[in-house]
Each structure stands twice: as C-alpha cells, then as structure tokens.
C-alpha cells in the first residue's frame, strides 16, 4: 500500500505531467474570472470564496482521468487486481495520492489566488480550512467516477458529467463556510457538515468504487 502511494507520487512528480498542471489550471480559471465579470474589486470580493471553491473543484476534476486510466491502459491495474492488495485499498490509496498531488497544492495556493480576487481579510483562514476539509472528499468521489469510466476511451468529459453532480453537497457547504467567514459570520455549522460529508465519503466510497472497478475489470 505504502509502495503504491509513493509510486503514484513519484509518477506524478516525474514524467512531465500531472503535478503542477492542476495548479496552473486553477490559476488560469481564477485569472479569467475578472476578465469575464469585470475588474470592480468590490464585486470580486463578494464572489471570491465561491470562485476559489469552484476553481479548485474544476482543477481537481480535470486531473481525475489520469487517476486510473494510465494504469488501466498499460495493464498495471490488472496486475494490481491480482495482487494481495484489496481493490478498495488500492482505490483509497490512489485517491490519497491524487489528493496530495492535486488537492493539497490547491489548498496551499488558494490564499495567494485569494489576493488576486481581493478576498476579504477574514476569509483566508476558513477558506483554507474548508478546502483542506473538502478536497479529500473530491478526490475520493473522483476515484469513484474514474472507476466508473475506466474502460471508456477518452472518457474525460463523461467523467466530469458523472462526478459534478456528486460534488454538489461538498461544494455547497465548503463555499458557504468560506463565504460566511469572508462576511464575518460564523462558519462553524457548514464546516461541521462539510467534515461530516468528507468523513462519510472517505469511509464508504472506497467500497462503492471497488465494486464498480471490479465490474469494469471483468
């Protein structure tokens, strides 16, 4: 398991790919927002928490199709499935590696991008906290979606469609927490709900994903 985790990290870091690109996409989306809604800083302040959450979500989404598809194409997934590791564990570990290479950098970059969007000063802490709480759920749900679409050629867009509705609750609570904090309100309730969702997803989703992947492997 640990070997798998570090292999996935090494692969993401080497091999001109994956790592960093998600971050770049996040940056670009955030930069494009003022171009499209206009440069008034009051307006930007108002929508900043939502835009940051949505951008992080989209960046996370777009890197999902590498999560399993590469291993599927080169046959490594078949070999892993015949190994002593349980399929659920494999998926959980892969989701964890995905989070470390995608979610974590997004969390760390969010405050910097918050500056670009003129985020209210009170909002930074809770924004980071809510992203840190929420993105693991995004990765795990994404692993489920990747398992669903693993056999489909160029399934990236389909994957997005399947996964986005599943992201809605996480997005709502996460963005709500960040927004409340930015407006000086108390973000405790949405943060608790967000943590609850993430815990539930982390506990249950690997099994659903394992089930789906087992069907796809046959």
């Amino acid at each position: 398991m640990r070997a798998l985790f570090f292999r996935d990290l090494a692969l993401a870091l080497r091999a001109g790919g994956g790592f960093g690109l998600g971050l770049a996409f996040f940056l670009i989306v955030v930069v494009l927002v003022p171009f499209s809604v206009g440069p008034q800083s009051a307006l930007l302040t108002q929508i900043a928490p939502g835009v940051l959450w949505l951008g992080a979500l989209l960046a996370c989404l777009l890197s999902l199709d590498r999560l399993l598809a590469v291993d599927w194409e080169d046959g490594a997934l078949d070999l892993l499935a015949t190994s002593p590791l349980p399929l659920e564990g494999i998926l959980a570990v892969k989701a964890a590696a995905h989070w470390v290479t995608t979610g974590l950098p997004l969390v760390l970059a969010a405050p910097v991008l918050g500056v670009l969007l003129n985020l209210a000063p009170g909002g930074y802490g809770v924004l980071v906290l809510s992203l840190a709480l929420g993105t693991p759920a995004l990765s795990m749900i994404g692993a489920f979606g990747a398992a669903l679409t693993v056999g489909i050629k160029r399934g990236g867009l389909l994957l997005s469609l399947l996964v986005l509705p599943l992201y809605v609750p996480t997005l709502i609570f996460g963005a709500e927490a960040a927004r409340r904090a930015a407006q000086g309100l108390d973000p405790a309730t949405p943060l608790l709900l967000l943590a609850g969702i993430t815990l539930a997803v982390l506990a249950a989703m690997p099994f659903a994903a394992g089930l789906v992947l087992r069907v796809n492997l046959r």
Partner: protein
C-alpha cells in the same frame, strides 16, 4: 569571422566558459553595490517613505521579465529560420529565468501595492499584462517538458512563442480597453520631471545593470547545461546502437 560561428555548440561552450566568470563576478558586484547603495544610502521618498527602496528590485525585475521573453522570441526566430540548435536551447534556458523575474516583479509589486494603494492586487492593465505574461511562460515551459524529441519540442515551442507574442500584445490592448489603470497613478512620485534627481536614479541603474548581467550569466550557463544534456543524449543513443 561571422557571429554564426558561435551557433556551433563546441565554439559556444568555449566562448561561454571564457566570459562566464566575468559575467558572474560583475553581476554579483553590480547587484551587491546597487542594492546596498539603494538600501542603505538613499533617503526616503517624501510621499512613499521607505517603500521607494523596493524600486531597486521591482523595476529591474520587470524590465528583465519582458526582455527575457523578447530574447526568447528572437532566439525562436533564429531557430526557425536558420536552425541553429544553440539558439533553440538558449530560448529554453531563458524561460525559467524569465519566470523568476516575472515572479519577483509581481511579488515586489504586490508588496509595494499594499502600503501605496491599500491593496495587494488590483486589476490594473500593467499588472494584469504581467500576470498573462506569467501564464505564457508557464505554458511555454510545460510544452518543452512534455515533448520527448528535442527538435520537435524546439519547433513547437518556437511557434508557440511567436503566436504567444502576438496574443500577448493583443491581450495588452484588450486589457487596456477593459480597465484603466492605477499603476501610472499620482501615487508615483518618480515622474519624469522630478525624476528624483540621481539619488534614486544611479543606484537603480546599477541594479538594472546587475540584473542584466545576471540574466546573461544564467542564460549562458543554462544553455551550456542544455547542450550537455543533448550531447549526453546523442552519446547514449549511439551507445545503444552499438550495443
């Protein structure tokens, strides 16, 4: 003797070995002298206070950020027209340096903006254009990294550099149209007429010189590294064929 002689990697390496020590030393001297002069021995500005000292980093970095891209554009054109490998590799070598210069300009600008404009960041055209330039740099480097075959990568990144330049200029006009700026605003006391007589001006010149020299040294050194990577690759390919 034509300038193109130095397009030969061996000649280039020989030349750069010879001039690089001078470049490193003189850039270090200029930077140390300029920054110490600027930091310790210039007065505060009457309106900006001590923040004016940021200018010794901000302006040289901003200049080099643009000029690095310009140098990459020229090198790309040379590669496309005359296909000198050193030229393509020099463009590749300059890009990360350009990224760092852009970052310095952005960060020092942001730090300066907080006391001057009351905000870290504003969607001012000048600043926005820099951000877009930063994105172009990122894409350029990512494309180099992604392509295995070095000559294909050189061709593709050169064309991207050309097309990107056109779009960067277009973006600049679009951004000007989209928002009028703060950057040239009244908060700047360094207007041409006042021009802060020499007190700020000379150390700034020294710093700019230091940045230019540092850029040259870095690009020469990194180009040498890229040439050695290519040479290693060629030797290994030959080894594999002999085996």
């Amino acid at each position: 003797m034509s300038l193109w002689e130095y397009a030969n990697p061996v000649k280039f390496l020989a030349l750069s070995e010879r001039v690089m020590p001078w470049l490193w030393v003189s850039s270090a001297v200029c930077l140390v002298v300029g920054l110490i002069w600027g930091f310790f021995f210039t007065p505060d500005d009457f309106r900006q206070g001590s923040t004016v000292k940021i200018i010794y980093l901000h302006v040289p970095a901003a200049l080099m950020a643009i000029n690095a891209w310009f140098m990459m554009l020229v090198a790309s054109l040379i590669w496309i027209v005359r296909r000198h490998h050193v030229s393509a590799l020099a463009a590749k070598a300059a890009a990360p340096v350009g990224i760092v210069m852009t970052l310095i300009a952005l960060v020092t600008g942001a730090i300066w903006g907080q006391p001057m404009w009351g905000t870290w960041w504003a969607w001012d055209p000048r600043l926005t254009s820099f951000l877009i330039l930063f994105l172009f740099y990122l894409g350029y480097v990512a494309l180099w990294e992604a392509i295995e075959d070095p000559d294909t990568a050189a061709d593709l990144t050169s064309i991207l550099c050309l097309v990107g330049t056109v779009f960067a200029v277009l973006s600049r006009y679009a951004v000007l149209f989209w928002n009028q700026g703060l950057h040239q605003g009244a908060s700047l006391s360094l207007d041409k007429e006042e021009n802060v007589a020499d007190v700020f001006y000379f150390p700034l010149l020294v710093c700019i010189g230091g940045f230019v020299l540092l850029f040259l040294a870095l690009v020469l050194y990194r180009t040498g590294t890229e040439i050695r990577v290519r040479r290693t690759r060629a030797l290994m390919a030959r080894e594999a064929k002999l085996a």
